[in-house]
């Protein structure tokens, strides 16, 4: 057993982080908020970098890596708040022509009949007739909803897992932002991070991140539906509560449009719905618990 990143996995994560910092740094992120729309150029670059074809065999033009590597890549996407139906396009690679290379943008019907980026997508997985546009809470995720979509028909496991990986990345971002602000913002003549109430919010942010991280990584290794359900619960909590606590650490600034915290929170809300009903995940775990107990 060696439940740690390998050197290759570390390099992969570092490489993706670098690419995203270069191509989707804060300025670009804020630009995208003001001028929403999918950046096709970036999408193709992601395709070239292997973002979508990561798990396809090399013979099929992919990178030939596994689910753990995909999880690391999606964690970075979540950390960068990269917009677009990334998970759906990744999962369509190999099945939908052009998805792997980033030529084709693919979206899918997620939990609760939610469809992201419907107007911009070239291909939709799932039935979307009668889809109604929502006025999306997240400025970087246009949303539609398919009326009457059965609530219980949850998305596939891998869709849920990669969504959880994005949640993990966003949770990491909120933790980093909160700590950074706590170190630099001064009140009463000291950095606010010296005050225990603030310090303890930051500590809890990290604890939730680390618990979500091991749950998501382990689920990537086992691909077990029970592990995936556990991982999504931990990751949703880390992302949503992380953004809330980060907002608190930012004070009034946290309530502004200008600071990025709200983007983290809103995206985390969208993904928590996309991953299907939380109740379903809890019930799945409860059922499995009884089975294990015999």
């Amino acid at each position: 057993m060696r439940f740690q990143l390998t050197d290759d996995q570390r390099d992969l994560r570092g490489g993706v982080r670098e690419l995203l910092a270069r191509r989707f740094g804060r300025e670009v992120l804020r630009g995208a908020v003001e001028r929403p729309g999918l950046d096709r150029g970036l999408w193709r670059e992601l395709g070239e970098a292997g973002f979508f074809g990561l798990r396809l065999a090399e013979a099929a033009g992919g990178v030939g890596l596994g689910v753990p590597e995909a999880v690391l890549v999606f964690e970075e996407a979540g950390r960068a708040l990269l917009p677009g139906p990334l998970v759906a396009t990744h999962l369509a690679a190999g099945a939908v022509p052009g998805a792997a290379t980033g030529e084709t943008v693919v979206t899918a019907v997620g939990g609760g009949g939610l469809v992201e980026w419907l107007d911009e997508a070239d291909v939709v997985v799932g039935e979307v007739s009668g889809a109604v546009a929502l006025r999306s809470v997240d400025p970087l995720t246009p949303l539609h909803r398919v009326p009457g979509a059965p609530a219980a028909a949850g998305p596939d496991d891998l869709f849920v897992l990669l969504t959880a990986a994005e949640q993990l990345g966003t949770a990491v971002r909120t933790c980093e932002a909160a700590v950074q602000h706590a170190r630099t913002r001064e009140q009463f003549g000291r950095p606010i991070g010296a005050f225990q109430a603030v310090k303890h919010l930051c500590a809890e942010l990290l604890v939730r991140v680390e618990v979500a991280r091991v749950a998501v990584y382990a689920a990537a290794v086992t691909a077990d539906p029970v592990d995936i359900a556990a991982a999504r619960l931990a990751a949703d909590e880390a992302a949503v509560r992380g953004a809330r606590d980060c907002l608190q650490v930012y004070g009034g600034m946290g309530f502004t449009w200008e600071v990025d915290v709200h983007l983290c929170l809103k995206r985390a809300w969208v993904r928590a719905e996309r991953g299907g009903s939380i109740t379903e995940s809890e019930e799945l775990l409860a059922g499995e618990l009884l089975v294990e107990a015999g």
């Binding site: 170190r183 010296a194 303890h200 990290l206 604890v207 618990v211 556990a230 409860a286 618990l289 107990a293």
Partner: protein, 386 residues
């Protein structure tokens, strides 16, 4: 990221499992919680059994992964946990192994491994709890002895211990972290008085220890004079890093039993109850993954411990992350048992009711949750000290 075990590790697991099947039925009946001499004999007897079978030093010599397997399998099989051997095996022993002289290691380690001597931990004092470094128990040098006067509190197993790992102040003039020394004190020395304290669970798990001019040989000091704080940090990091592996396995089993009880008594039909139990199941699965993650980190060559051969890597502050989350989860576990039991949760005869009471100490003992959050924020996240 690899969660599979090597053939060597699997073989170790299989052999251990096979041995447990034979060894456990030979155990004497479990003594009652109030029978301290009986508990001491039982816990030492189990350690002796492990020693004879070649498993005694698994806490020290084996790789962290082997230790994980050992704790997982013994707990799953329902074997006794370390009990009264806790301080010897998990604090004092590893500290002596890492920081003691060859003579000290020869004197104290074999008797811990063979289940011959019990240790207790005399750190906390009435006025020095979270702020441990402010401790005041004084040790005055008199030739080749220290003369120790003061009092300790919350000393678990003090009534049945042979030795106490004792923190004393050897230089009252120095800044508080620099005047402390670590001594091994025989509990039968003249001047040691133990007064048991009753816990809220009704039992006497810990005691006050009064020290009145107790003479302790200077040769019993581990580490340099006034360097005891550093030695202590070694000990505490063991406590925070590796102590709970078996308990996570046990909690997962208890959770299953609670679920079965809920189904039997109808509480399972309440979706709120089911969902909370499902969440706790996710929580304990994640805590197990965190354990595996930390253990794997401990395997890394860079984690190698100082000093004596065979000493496992000193676990890092990551143990605080684990302890924070685990202590809360354990309390939630027994709260959920109470929810399932309903009125039964008020009956001390029912299962889990005493465990629920005991779980209340988890966010206090071995560094309170507030102190753990300070550690995480200051040492991992680098926030300024308050």
């Amino acid at each position: 990221m690899d969660l599979s075990y090597t053939p060597e590790q699997e073989e170790f697991r299989a052999r251990l499992r096979e041995w447990l099947v034979k060894a456990l039925p030979a155990l004497p009946p479990k003594p009652s919680p109030d029978d301290w001499p009986g508990r001491r004999a039982y816990d030492l007897g189990w350690q002796r059994t492990l020693y004879d079978a070649g498993y005694a030093d698994v806490h020290w010599d084996a790789s962290p992964t082997m230790r994980l397997i050992f704790l997982e399998e013994t707990e799953t099989a329902g074997a006794p946990y370390v009990g009264a051997n806790f301080v010897g095996l998990l604090h004092a022993g590893p500290t002596i192994a890492a920081e003691g002289t060859a003579g000290q290691r020869d004197r104290w380690l074999p008797s811990i491994l063979r289940g011959e001597e019990v240790w207790c931990q005399g750190f906390s004092e009435p006025d020095a709890g979270s702020d441990l470094a402010s401790l005041r128990t004084r040790a005055r040098r008199d030739g080749d002895e220290y003369v120790v006067t003061g009092s300790k509190i919350w000393t678990s197993h003090a009534e049945v211990a042979d030795w106490c790992e004792l923190l004393v102040r050897t230089d009252p003039a120095a800044p508080k972290h620099r005047g402390i020394s670590w001594l091994a004190m025989p509990m039968d020395a003249p001047g040691v008085t133990v007064r048991p304290l009753r816990t809220l669970a009704g039992s006497t798990e810990f005691a006050e220890v009064f020290l009145d001019e107790v003479r302790v040989p200077v040769a019993n000091r581990v580490g340099e004079e006034n360097d005891g704080w550093r030695v202590t940090m070694v000990t505490l990091s063991f406590e925070r890093g590796t102590a709970f592996v078996g308990e996570v396995v046990a909690c997962r089993r208890v959770l299953g039993e609670i679920a079965r009880e809920a189904r039997a008594n109808g509480r399972w039909d309440d979706s709120g109850v089911r969902r909370r139990l499902g969440r706790l199941y996710a929580e304990f699965r994640a805590l197990w993954r965190l354990t595996q993650w930390n253990v794997s980190e401990g395997e890394a060559p860079s984690g190698g411990g100082p000093g004596a051969p065979g000493v496992p890597g000193v676990p890092g502050v990551g143990g605080s992350v684990f302890k924070l989350r685990y202590s809360r989860a354990r309390q939630e576990l027994f709260d959920s048992a109470a929810e399932v039991l309903g009125v039964g949760a008020l009956d001390l005869e029912q299962p889990w009711v005493v465990d629920r009471l005991s779980s209340l100490s988890y966010t206090i003992a071995a560094g309170t949750s507030e102190i753990q959050r300070n550690i995480v924020a200051e040492r991992i996240l680098g926030l300024p000290k308050g």
